[in-house]
Amino acid sequence: MWARIVVAVMAVLLVALGSGLWYYQSNFATPITKITNQQAAHIGEDGQSANQLTTTGNGIGTKRINILLLGSDNDGKNQAPLAQTDIVVTIDPQTHYVGMLSIPRDLRVVIPDNGTGKLDAAFSFGWSNEHVGPTPFSNAVGLSIATIEKNFGIPINYYAWVGLDGFVKVIDTAGGVDIDAIHPITDNAYPDDVNTKDHFGYERLYIPPGPQHMNGMQALQYVRTRHADLVGDFGRSARQQQILDQLKVKLDTPSIVTKLPDLANDLGDTVKTDMSIQDIVNFMDFARTLNTNKIDRLILSPPYSAMANDKTGDFLPNCAMIMPKIAQMFALGNNANCITAAGTNTGSSLASFHSAIGAPIPMSALNTPTQNASLSQLNALSQNTGDTFGVHSLLDMMFLVVFDSFDATKV
């Protein structure tokens, strides 16, 4: 009698496990494989390729880690993408200290083996130049990491990259958002850099106030624009919170379960990291517990930088202010660095940068095959209740980069 019961239970468990594995393999394994464990090329501070890819740490444990968050348009159909967002997050698990350094894309830096230029160009130069990485993408991330390490002395342990059009896809998959726009939004020079051929272009925005439906692109515009807001980032934060609140409503509905495979696919081509899926889940679990009011924020906008008087639109770092701050934030001691790259912009002034970009590179260059997602991954993730296959954590990581705020991880 008992033997029959045991056999029956085992059979049911096997069927359930098999079904779960089949469901995972059918819907999530491919996108998660495309997202995770994507190693960046190791590029030395001299700009020369080293012999191996960067090696990641051993997970988020007890030692301080620094994570580079990159955001860019990922439409590489016509030219190499720029990194529009560069954020370094530092976490000391022992003291629970969390710092967040936002580096403006226009900050003039030394790009290893590429002279000086805007920080956003490091990603593009890496993409276009030949280095050791298997793909233009791994080279792009590698050169971005090398640029941060050379200019500031900050060692990077991990990276996470988000394509802004992934945010657009996610919102569209969720069915758009309905919000009451707080006030009219005007922007005479909004960056027209998503799903476009000209990454240097601008467009004009006008978003009327009041209740309205927004698709993914409109929602992205609503949360990114800041030019015409009297209170700049403060106004932008309020708008971002509206979108996050709406997303929370959308993602909390039971019907979202049916859309999880679509959301995973949306993320598949628009999020890349060298972390494992379990690392991401751990990182986001940690992020959700943070008191965001206690995060040490530093943005290298004025007075930490000042616009150059050479019509390049570059901002020059104010090293006297930056050095002590990053030394403290990243516990760098004498290893903190800051390069006053006040010389001529040799790398990425807008005029010269167009010609510096290489031939068109297809988006497929992003898709680096790595090891397949395993059963152990599935088991590990299934222990995280409420985060089916890590999709929620991947979404939160995307929002963290797009919104430039840990508040976004609480959706």
Partner: protein, 419 residues
């Protein structure tokens, strides 16, 4: 004992069967309509979209209602069959001329918009002004594009009030830093005559009369319209940050449309509290009482308006509007008089999720609005009357849903109603 157990199991089985039946009924959509008895939606296929119009007697109305679905212009008359008037243009905010001949609207394009009008029955499009332009330098956002939005008609049906950034390149040095070198992209209220060839933005700038200024950094004004039977008054919503720069001040203002033109140099755009204002507020300066989207009743004596309740809920109110308060708007006594109807005579008609964009029936007996139900916007009708005891407006009966547009009705475009 055994008998009791059998009875319990039978009850248990019956209960589960009942639950199963109810679940199936729910899944299969059986068991009658979930809608109330005042709705009888009949679908119409239009431009590839299927939308429902309520054919129940409770949704009867007189005249014609113009609205946009996916930013195509439609008209609905007493037959309650929608007719499409424009195709493939991004139309917003239709407005009917007082003489009943024309319908004006804005047409959106990437980077700019046009002001246009046509016969209320459709037909050739007349462009009043185009905001088309160009970006000047690669990597530089300077450009010659302009917005022309939210038209409304002058009482003689010969001019349009509209919103524009026509003066974005003006330098208002008297405002001081940081505005003396900044573009002024916030939309302000202007007027232009119709009936001439389409104007470029440069020509429009030459011909347009500035009517109401905006404050810097909050997007500008909205909802400008003449007050019926009061040719010397306009109403609009004014958006600005409070002096602390952290909270929104959203107020409805009344103004003499010629105050700026008749007093050259006296008024300028600004920031909250920065200068002399040609307008007078008819709703309070209170960050917790954000009032917007005014719509005058046909007799010009009352406005319907929206007041935000929280981040998703809004109230539709009606209140009378004071007379003779625009001649001396900066006088404290006048300002107090202008605000009095809000504090003493404003009545809540309806509240709910994203209630917005109110508009009146031509006879003033109904107020329509957009409401957000089942995750989409639709038009609702509400009968209103004046309470004899209080003299305040009240809703009569229940509001009735007129459309079931399946997400095609545009929440960002206010419908219009004509006889």
């Amino acid at each position: 004992m055994e008998r009791a157990m059998k009875k319990y199991r039978a009850l248990q089985t019956s209960f589960f069967l009942l639950l199963l039946a109810l679940s199936l009924q729910s899944c299969l959509g059986l068991g009658g309509s979930s809608k109330s008895s005042n709705t009888n939606f009949q679908n119409t296929n239009t431009n590839g979209a299927s939308i429902g119009i309520n054919k129940a007697n409770q949704a009867l109305f007189k005249g014609k209602i113009y609205f946009t679905l996916d930013h195509n212009l439609y008209v609905l008359d007493g037959t309650r069959v929608p007719h499409q008037l424009t195709h493939g243009m991004a139309v917003q905010d239709p407005a009917i001329s007082p003489d009943g001949k024309w319908i004006a609207f804005s047409v959106r394009f990437k980077n700019y918009s046009n002001l246009a009008y046509m016969s209320i029955n459709g037909g050739p499009l007349h462009t009043v002004a185009t905001g088309n332009g160009q970006f000047f330098t690669v990597g530089d956002g300077t450009n010659s594009f302009y917005w022309f939005l939210q038209p409304s008609w002058s009482p003689d049906s010969k001019k349009l009030l509209f919103l524009s950034d026509l003066q974005k390149a003006f330098v208002w040095k008297n405002l001081g830093s940081p505005f003396n070198n900044a573009y002024f992209p916030d939309l302000q209220v202007f007027s232009l005559p119709i009936g001439q060839p389409a104007l470029t933005a440069a020509q429009a700038l030459n011909d347009a009369q500035p009517v109401a200024y905006a404050d810097f950094g909050d997007g500008g004004d909205r909802d400008a319209a003449y007050r019926p039977h009061h040719d010397n008054q306009i109403v609009y919503t004014h958006y600005t940050y409070n002096t602390g720069g952290t909270q929104q001040l959203v107020q409805i203002y009344l103004e003499d449309p010629n105050a700026i033109a008749n007093n050259p140099g006296r008024y300028t755009p600004g920031v909250e509290g920065s200068g002399v204002d040609p307008s007078v507020a008819i709703t309070p300066k209170n960050t917790n009482k954000e009032c917007l989207q005014p719509a005058f009743s046909p007799d010009g004596n009352n406005i319907a308006y929206i007041q935000r309740i929280d981040s998703t809920h809004m109230g539709l109110f009606v209140m009378p509007v004071a007379d003779n308060v625009t001649q001396n708007p900066n006088d404290p006594t006048t300002a107090s008089k202008a605000l009095k109807p809000y504090t003493s005579k404003s009545s809540l008609i309806q509240s709910g999720l994203y209630i917005s964009q109110p508009f009146w029936s031509p006879d003033g007996k109904q107020v329509a609005y957009l409401s957000y139900t089942n995750n989409v916007y639709d038009i609702w009708l509400s009968n209103v009357s004046v309470d004899k005891k209080t003299g305040m407006y009240k809703m009569v009966g229940d509001p009735v849903q007129l459309t079931s547009a399946n997400g095609h009705l545009d929440g960002d475009s206010r419908p219009a109603w004509t006889a």
